[in-house]
Amino acid sequence: MVKRIRDWLEVRIGLDELIRQNLTEYRVPKHINLFHALGAVAVVGYVIQVITGICLLIYYIPHADHAFRSVQDIMTKVPYGWLFRQMHVVGSNLLITAVLLHMVTIFLMGNYKRPRELTWVSGGMLLIITLGFGLSGYLLPWTQLSYWATTVVTSIPTAFPVVGDFFTRLLRGGNYVTGITLTRFFAVHVSILPPLFVLFIALHIALIRRIGLSATPFGKSDEEKRPLTEYRKKTHPHGHPYYPYLFQRQVLMGIMYFIVMFAIVTFAPTFFFPEEATVPADAFQTPENIRPEWYLLAPYQMLKLIPNKFLGILMQIILLAVFIFWPFLDTHKEKNILKRPILRGVFIVIMISLVILMWWGRR
């Protein structure tokens, strides 16, 4: 029976060929480490978000009068609703962490260099989309926390001259965060961002597969030496087969992701639910110490520190552009960051200042 199904599939989709190409004969560099599996962890994270998100969508009501109540009902009345909501909430924060870690390791290993510039750019777009998911999803429970954090974040574009106010009004669907903002953010969260996300992740993965994994250890291999005038896939004929070698490590890291997630759900179930997250949104009462989500704290704090509005927002845009188009700016052939003291210094300074800005923004 199994054989017949296999044969049936073999004739139609070429199963053996697929397995051979993608699993056993797809070889990865010998010196691959667990950090190479971070991208796969992000994929696991996205899959969890999609599945739990669809679950929540079944009971969620995107209306200012019902949103809060429906989320509370998911938490209290719907059997195991809490599980899926917790996974979605904890998952969203872990996912952003995983994506950031993925980018940092790629950066440190110099794997964004030619011919992988577009892989980096699509990855940067994915980060922005992920942050967009985080931002739009944050408002949906319609709590004091989400309402005021959204008010704070959506006021950021007002710093931009001329079109800033218009952009904020466009985001909010009016002058203030209201039920109109809620439905907008809902639409963005469940129907505008997902297709964009699929587009970019398809591009991202297709590029990775087309160009081939970059080799570690660092140093100059043929890719770095020869002028890049023609396409040549990077293969690792002496490497390990993808399955089971890298695959096992990816699964292991995926399991680690689940372990961290459920450690938080078990031992700190309120980690992402401060007191304001249990109070329905109230436009007439601003809670103390409102601030955006942690992953937006650094840019927010930066904006607060720079006294010139336009300069502040311009800095953000320039930094973002530098970040996304970094491979085009850094055309140095040396991949090993240990041999590039200036880049290393800049990286450390940026990391430290991000941490300081985040910590500062918290208070």
Binding site: M75, T158, T168, Q248, V265, P307, K309, L311
Partner: protein, 284 residues
């Protein structure tokens, strides 16, 4: 090419510096407060004048007392009791805007009873209320609760110090004993509810339910009739038991959730360690 981009970046940076006119203060005003919310904190001229130096020292205390009060915490401001118009300094204390200054002693119950209707009704029928009505100056709201620095009521208001000002403490003590268990229970349950809320549970329905029970009980107390309180205590403990059982059910549910996710955690830890060992095992 590279230099071209660098130059453009630099130019973009330099440009806004020419527009460096506005400073932090203006930035914070324009950016941090402008579009944050629909509701700006309302100007309140009552507070402004009554905390200024023009005021007589004994009036100066009032705003601070109010700010520390339960009323202030629940956003009940001056004009909610005294009338008048807090937004218009010229007319703020005009009788045309419904301003009532300090009520005469015989007006106090009606003054508070504008809002606390249920309490007023029971109070007027009570021994306290009858004494007050016959003399026009008996024990009334402010005798026990104070006026501006009103705190959330609790059973400790019934004390020898207060009650013995007018009569012997014996009957008050009997009343306090009759109230004691129910009051303690209410207090305990609201503490439990708060701790549930800190665990992320939505408790508003039960909080309102508990408030309603408490309000009924407090209204009953204002009849200052020990026998009536004793008679109806059973009914209240029934209602409180229902709230309590819901609280315990929620606590049980939270424990279950913790265990459930701990089990999932264990499965994954097991899976992870087995896979780790499997990766480590050399192939034969």
């Amino acid at each position: 090419m590279k230099w071209c981009i660098m130059l453009m970046g630099l130019m973009l940076l330099v440009l806004p510096v020419t527009a460096w006119g506005d400073y932090r203060e203006e930035f914070e005003k324009g950016f941090l407060t402008k579009t944050w919310s629909g509701q700006q904190p309302e100007e309140n001229f009552c507070i402004e004048c009554h905390s200024s130096e023009k005021m007589k020292p004994e009036y100066l205390r009032i705003t601070d007392e109010w700010k520390a009060s339960w009323h202030a915490q629940n956003r009940i401001a001056c004009h909610d009791c005294h009338g008048g118009d807090p937004k218009d300094p010229a007319m703020s204390m005009s009788p045309h805007r419904g301003f009532v200054g300090k009520p005469e002693p015989n007006e106090v119950p009606e003054f508070c009873g504008k809002c606390h209707i249920g309490i007023l009704k029971n109070y007027l029928e009570s021994g306290h209320g009858r004494a007050f009505r016959s003399s026009g100056n008996g024990p009334n709201c402010v005798t026990c609760h104070g006026s501006h620095n009103i705190q959330q009521a609790n059973i400790e208001i019934i004390s020898e110090q207060r009650c013995a000002k007018c009569h012997s403490y014996d009957r008050a003590r009997a009343m306090k004993q009759a109230l004691f268990l129910t009051e303690k229970k209410i207090e305990e349950l609201s503490r439990d509810l708060l701790s549930l809320r800190n665990e992320g549970v939505y408790i508003d329905d039960d909080r309102m339910n508990l408030f309603s029970i408490q309000a009924d009980f407090r209204a009953l107390f204002h009849s200052v009739d020990v026998n009536l309180v004793k008679e109806r205590t059973d009914e209240f403990s029934h209602k409180l038991a229902a709230v309590e059982s819901r609280i315990t059910a929620t606590e049980r549910e939270l424990r279950f959730r913790r265990n459930f996710s701990a089990i999932i955690l264990l499965f994954f830890v097991g899976m992870g360690s087995v896979l780790y060992l499997l990766i480590r095992t050399p192939k034969e």
